[in-house]
């Protein structure tokens, strides 16, 4: 008995960033977490790039490396990209894990202390893709935004991870 393959990938070239030109900012809170009043400023200081990578060499782009350069407190950006079902069975986006925090439904928004110094450095808001069903060769747009918080340390490199989990569709 031959089984089908569950497989999906990032679509090459689909990364887009709201920060084109002058930087953006917003208001945010961590208690409870919220992002609002997104607006563009008057200076171009930081930047964000994205690179798709095939980390396991199987021919699929399975990792999106997002790099923010010269970030500062109050810097905001919105990232979006497309994902594509290149497997043989329909899939459903079922779970998002952000730095170990597991979500199976919206809203997904949280503040994180990325360097363990007791201060919150970033707020991340993930768009609602739960339950999105992709048929074979179907694509979907996914996005997230982030805001660097006031206590983010200067001159450091901070990391975060977002895992997007899809499962095979079943009746």
């Amino acid at each position: 008995m031959d089984t089908s393959e569950l497989d999906w990938e990032f679509e090459s070239g689909s990364f887009t960033s709201k920060d084109v030109g002058n930087d953006w900012t917003c208001d945010s809170s961590c208690n409870p977490p919220s992002i609002s009043n997104i607006r563009q400023g008057t200076k171009d200081i930081a930047s964000t790039t994205g690179e798709f990578v095939d980390s396991d060499g199987d021919g699929d782009l399975d990792t999106l490396k997002v790099t923010v350069s010269n970030a500062y407190p109050c810097y905001y950006n919105h990232i979006d990209f497309w994902v594509h079902n290149n497997g043989e069975v329909p899939l459903i986006i079922s779970k998002v894990i952000i730095d170990g925090h597991v979500y199976t439904a919206s809203p997904v928004i949280l503040c994180l202390d990325l360097n363990g110094d007791g201060n919150l450095d970033i707020i991340i808001r993930y768009g609602n893709s739960f339950g999105t069903q992709l048929e074979y060769c179907d694509s979907a747009n996914i996005s997230f935004d982030f805001h660097i918080l006031q206590n983010a340390p200067e001159g450091q490199s901070l990391s975060f991870t977002i895992q997007i989990v899809a499962e095979n569709w079943s009746p």
């Binding site: 569950l6 497989d7 999906w8 990938e9 990032f10 930087d23 900012t25 208001d27 607006r39 400023g41 008057t42 200076k43 200081i45 930081a46 980390s55 399975d62 990792t63 999106l64 490396k65 997002v66 790099t67 923010v68 350069s69 010269n70 970030a71 500062y72 407190p73 109050c74 994902v83 497997g87 069975v89 899939l91 079922s94 990325l114 450095d121 970033i122 997230f144 982030f146 660097i148 983010a152 340390p153 200067e154 001159g155 450091q156 490199s157 901070l158 990391s159 975060f160 991870t161 977002i162 895992q163 997007i164 989990v165 899809a166 499962e167 095979n168 079943s170």
Partner: protein
């Protein structure tokens, strides 16, 4: 007995099917790996100063020294043997050697002992020597006038930019004591620029 065996077999079969349904999901994960490299807020001060002493009668002296090793940055201006009509002047350069724009949010002026500073507004000041110790700026205690001129935007110093601040202190009668010497320390506090609210 046979009926019980059939029923037991059916129950086991159903249990296996249910368990199979509960664990029927494959999964695949895509990963977003985020790296946030934060910029650096760093200001460097430098200072030059001079006086109007006649070179043939170099009675008084002024020096200025900056402290950039630790934050906050500071400048110390020392005056020795001031006399009426003696004037010191100079320039303090504030250079943004970091990577993000900076904003001057506050400053402190540490005055010599018994000196009172009166802010006249518009970066103009009068200095009084509190000879009677009443902590009041009495007219007869006026010892100097001073002023600043800021060239550039102190509220937004971009990376690589320098904002010069020219200053002067003109010592005068009637309040300046004889052979007066004193030290002024100016401490500057900066934070990173943020987009307006």
């Amino acid at each position: 007995m046979r009926g019980k065996m059939v029923g037991l077999f059916a129950a086991v079969l159903i249990a296996i099917m249910v368990a199979g349904l509960a664990y029927a999901h494959w999964s695949e994960t895509l990963v977003i790996s985020g790296t946030v490299n934060t910029g650096k807020l760093d200001l460097e001060l430098s200072c030059t100063c001079s006086d109007n002493d006649d070179t043939s009668k170099d009675v008084a002296d002024v020096t200025c020294v900056v402290q950039n090793e630790t934050e906050p940055n500071s400048i110390t201006i020392s005056v020795t043997n001031a006399y009426p009509c003696y004037e010191v002047s100079g320039t303090i350069d504030i250079k943004n050697v970091g990577t993000v724009p900076a904003v001057l949010i506050d400053y402190d002026i540490d005055l010599p002992e018994d000196v009172i500073l009166v802010d006249l507004g518009g970066y103009r000041y009068k200095l009084y020597y509190d000879a009677d110790g009443d902590r009041e700026a009495d007219p007869e205690e006026l010892m100097a006038t001073a002023g600043l001129t800021i060239e550039g935007d102190i509220g937004q110093i971009d990376a690589g930019e320098t904002v010069p601040i020219d200053f002067y202190v003109h010592f005068t009668n009637p309040g300046l004591p004889e052979d007066w010497s004193g030290t002024f320390t100016i401490t500057l506090y900066f934070e990173n620029w943020s987009p307006p609210t």
